[in-house]
Amino acid sequence: MPFVTAKTQQSAYDVIVVGSGAAGGQSAYTLCMDGAKVLMLEAGRKYSPDTETPMFQTPDLAPLAGTGTPEKPFGFYDATVDGGWQVPGEPYTRASEEDAGRFEWWRARMLGGRTNHWGRISLRNGPYDFKPYSRDGLGQDWPIGYEDIAPYYDKVELLIGVYGSNEGLENTPNSPPGCLLPPPKPLVSDLLVAQRAKRLGIPVIPGHRAVLTQPLDYRRSPARLHPGNATAQRILAEDMRKRAACLWATPCGRGCAIRANYQSTTVHLPPALRTGNLDIRTDAMVYEVTLGRDGRASGVSFVDRLSGKHLHVKARVVILAASACETVRILLNSNSARFAVGLANSSGKLGRYLMDTVGSSVSGQVPLLESLPPLNEDAADGHQLYVPWWLYQEQHAGKLGFARGYHIEFGGGKRMPGFGTAAGIEWLTGGSYGAKFKQDVRRYYGSFVDFDGRGEMIPNDQSYCEIDPQVKDKWGIPVLRFHWQWSEHELKQAAHMQKTFVDIIEAMGGKPRDPPQSDGAKAIAPGGSIIHEVGGAIMGSDPKSSVTNPWCQTWDVENLFVTDGAVFASNADKNPTLTIMALAWRAADHILERMRRKEL
């Protein structure tokens, strides 16, 4: 009875996991494979990628040709249901309505959360990324180093399946042999970018994404992942065999019915359920961690969204993995005589150091890519190649005027035609229509390359979230209010991205859609809009200045853990999901060890 209701739910569990995405999925997986009894609570509905994923559907079958609307912001076929920049009945507020202080919060109320639609980009943080303060005196160091988390990067890559290569570049770690799957072949446009960027001294290497370019190694990986645990090895081997390799079509953002990419619902939850140790309750909106008289977390309170009833469930350990901001919200709303301003907040740091990724984009048109013969370029759905940050030395020498780096994601090719294929191309056609327009569209189709920078933001005192004193959601739960401010480091970095992208486009013989934006405030995407929000319950080595210890365990409440992005002490340019999973696995191992020793 894996999916439970009030009637079938147990009275108590070893561990409650709040959230079912990358953090919740990994936490539950690790715990269940080692025998812990886990109840997972998910605010959204049950979701089944095997039957619900729109594989191969074409835009003509969707309303509005599949374009995004406020109800499906990333397009009709995006995997996200009941989510987006706004969730009906569940508002959030901003302290400032000015653009510079804008923060957007993406949520997905569904089993698997945002992992169902994410970009699958899976980069390891490097050694520098855990010790940024030590390198340049800004922000703060993590209480752990790369060597502490590296074994868990290995495990996650083996479990979920990540393609990529080992290039040995600075602060861009290699994986041990056998961890990575082979990268996909690049497209024509990828190779042109690589050739011309190289002339500018910019390295272009295979990307890392959680997509199976070949079947997983079900004979060897289970033993590497679960040594001495025959049951776990058997369950995992069986499950790995059921995951098909990529069939080189249909966008990953729709989810994958054949389980060829990672989403929590196709990778973490099936084997965890097979152990018999996992119960999942969906439509369970957790709003409070309750505290016992002994000062330990006694369980959580939640609203059953179907009945509207407020319920409580108990466990020995509580793990919050609800996404950085939702986790912070739950803790800030968990007040008691002992913790009047939020649970586990004796440091006063709860909600502080909220970070997103710096984002900026330029598109260009490249004559060399015009009128190519028919090619199937669906490939791995992008990120066959990417540019890791390459100016560490110049930056460290103070030559750039901003302190942290960015990587470049880019893409071109003959993608499936749709609403945007021939939209807004007057800058090339001079406003043609008729037979000439049709010829122009054929000529330009597949000749565009888009560049997106993804850069590190330094945490600051002006970017945080707190409880709005007035506004509550439809369940009566107080909502978050966001404060946001970029520093000069991020704005200058965004302007640097613009110039770099235009330089590459011009080196390809192309022209940018718009001139490079030299004003960083105009070049930078709004806070939160890259959907890499992390921080808010940062880990540290000092209880006075951080919320959790190096094991994701809150300093104040021994049996309360945070395994999502809230614990990030910095937000490297590398996309956070792989690190979230590695930290969650490490924290779950620690919890298991402490439970075996009867310390929890």
Partner: protein, 209 residues
């Protein structure tokens, strides 16, 4: 499911999916009015085929449909490779678009309805007829004045913005269709046993080997 079974399954499923015939809207006005303000919600069924008029009531009158058809075919006429825009259901697509309850579409609705009215007014002012009743040369004469916002006279700037939007909508409907995909020689969206990358000969020609 092993890989071979998977690919078979996908191929079979692909073959079973019907090629959708865009059909004219036949929304019942009474039931349409009741749901006038509603979109498809945050959790629509992604696996059913959707037709204009099923999700929200449509807007265009018969005369507006005719005018939209003529204009969309001026923008995307039939040629030796593919049929015209109206032949693949672009008018129904535009009607669905301007009738949708979302902010972008509500904004576009005003521009499109205003622009269609402007076309007739301009045709009447110049030639004393409706746009639909003009010969092709005169229709093109009006379009030439508004087809490029950068070059349009200031008093026709708004009409040029309408034309740009209408061209985007026409192209959006056309290239989203099976005919549009074929016109562009798109050969993806099919399962492959392996992805082998671009042909070596092409890369050699381009100096990318």
């Amino acid at each position: 499911m092993d890989r071979r079974t998977t690919i078979k399954w996908v191929l079979a499923a692909g073959a079973a999916w019907p090629l959708v015939e865009r059909r004219a809207a036949s929304a019942d006005p009474a039931s349409s009015a009741a749901q006038a303000a509603r979109g498809y919600g945050t959790d629509p069924n992604l696996l059913t085929n959707n037709h204009p008029g099923e999700l929200w009531p449509l807007t265009l009158t018969a005369a507006q449909q005719r005018l939209a058809g003529i204009l969309s075919d001026i923008i995307i006429p039939a040629d030796e490779h593919s049929p015209s825009a109206s032949a693949v259901g672009v008018v129904e697509f535009i009607d669905e678009w301007v009738s949708a309850p979302y902010p972008t579409q509500q904004r576009d609705r005003g521009i499109v309805l205003g622009g269609l009215a402007w076309l007739n007014a301009e045709a009447g002012r110049r030639f004393g007829k409706e746009f639909s009743d003009l010969d092709a040369a005169r229709q093109h004469g009006i379009c030439d004045d508004i087809c490029d916002e950068a070059r349009a006279a200031s008093e026709r700037r708004e009409a040029a913005r309408f034309f740009a939007l209408f061209r985007d909508l026409t192209a959006g409907g056309f290239y989203s269709s099976p005919v549009g995909r074929k016109d562009l020689n798109y050969i993806g969206n099919v399962p492959l046993a392996s992805f082998d990358g671009p042909p070596a000969a092409l890369l050699k020609t381009m100096g990318l080997s």
